[in-house]
Assembly symmetry: C3
């Protein structure tokens, strides 16, 4: 459909929500509004409508086939949205069994994103933010584990670029420089 | 088919054989046995049965088309195995013409792995192990060459994750900590 | 078709043109001549023939669909060339919207390359060469930006290897050692 499909990702604690929220406001103020959706929430609502789950915790209990089908259906519905959309998701998710692609092939084929953004910052800063934000339960990662995760995200983003032809932009959300990160996101979406 | 298909990889000298052998014993003792196969040996036996080669050295003389067909047939047969299987292979193979994908697309499509494990350790430790093990002819790599190879393996593992939806787990097999590596593999397969 | 399809890539300023030009001479002198083409120029000539553009600057104004179709047609025509060919292009292109895959899936599927070469060197040396070559307008990259770009190129090369089964060779074109780089390219193509 007409419109830019932009995927924004970042490891937990990097400040993705903050930069997306502000970028959406500025884009709207500039007369260039984007719709916003979280891929995970979108999938959950789909599963709920289909009577597969009653709450979000049950999502991980779904069979692999059900999860894959839901991912694909969610991607197909999002692709049909007319207009510009920011899709909030993860490049990869850290699970007890290793890194899991946030956008496996069947999602990419259905979604056909135009732009893929990695929000990153120094691992030390992410650790600082995770300790500082006691309102959310975050992974207890080490510096090295975070480095490995961010590096894996860059690698899988390259695979996404090969698969879809989307561009991959890296936006640094450094301490004290959140405005710069928001400006960059707005610039990418304008 | 029912069962977990787990691919375990690592550069020569990282101690992959040791950790797989011990992990298989512990999994069996815990009442959760895995079958084991080496992808290369499996392909060779297939080629032998088809009268294409008489010994393992002849494998590299096969045409590119024959090699690809054999890879695909091997992957299809392995996918039909009922039950849990560890598949021992390489994320990428270092050849005189550069890095070669251990699991190109046609293998992944046929195999549909659930879990992909990278066994890694510091390059210095790998060099030490290669010098120490005079029973096998190993590549004479430098520190930098090993670093480049391990890094390429992580990148290609990300592409595998995108393609198949398998998880990618990184297990460090550090000097004096082989038990930890085995525990982690057992944990991933349990 | 018969013949090796070899893709050679490198960030602007790495000295790709120099090493390709010399490698072509040596290969010809050794009785093993390669045809040469630039993927970008090949696409432009195709667009010109189809009356889509009048000059090269107009290429970036083409619709996404036209660009994709032209890429695919160019790749199909190159794949039909009989004999050995060096294809000069980029692993990824740095654009205002982020990194763009030089060889997205539809190009790889049509082209089926045998060998993919990354010409690299230290970021400091690339910066030095860019400053030294005032005849061309180059990107004003920082050390970190170049590092990020070269690293992204390695990651996307791994995805290309997964997709096509081509080998990925890394050739360092270091200051004062250009002959070594040329020798390595000649060796890969012989």
């Amino acid at each position: 459909m007409a419109g830019t499909k932009c995927i924004i990702t970042g490891v937990p604690g990097v400040g993705k929500t903050t930069v997306i929220t502000e970028a959406l406001k500025r884009l709207e103020a500039a007369g260039n509004p984007y719709a916003y959706l979280s891929f995970g929430s979108f999938m959950f609502e789909l599963a709920e409508k289909q009577g597969l789950v009653k709450n979000r915790d049950e999502m991980r209990l779904l069979s692999k086939d059900d999860q894959r089908r839901l991912q694909q259906q969610a991607a197909e519905e999002i692709a049909r949205i007319d207009g510009d959309v920011i899709i909030d998701t993860h490049a990869s998710v850290k699970t007890p069994k290793g890194y899991l692609a946030g956008l496996p092939e069947w999602v990419l084929d259905a979604l056909e994103p135009d732009l893929f953004v990695l929000v990153e910052t120094d691992e030390d800063q992410i650790l600082g933010r995770r300790f500082g934000d006691l309102s959310r339960v975050r992974d207890l990662d080490t510096y090295g584990a975070l480095q490995s995760h961010q590096s894996f995200n860059r690698a899988i983003a390259a695979a996404y670029a090969m698969k879809t032809g989307c561009t991959v932009a890296i936006v640094t959300n450094a301490d004290h420089l959140v405005d710069l990160a928001i400006d960059q996101i707005v610039g990418l979406l304008t």
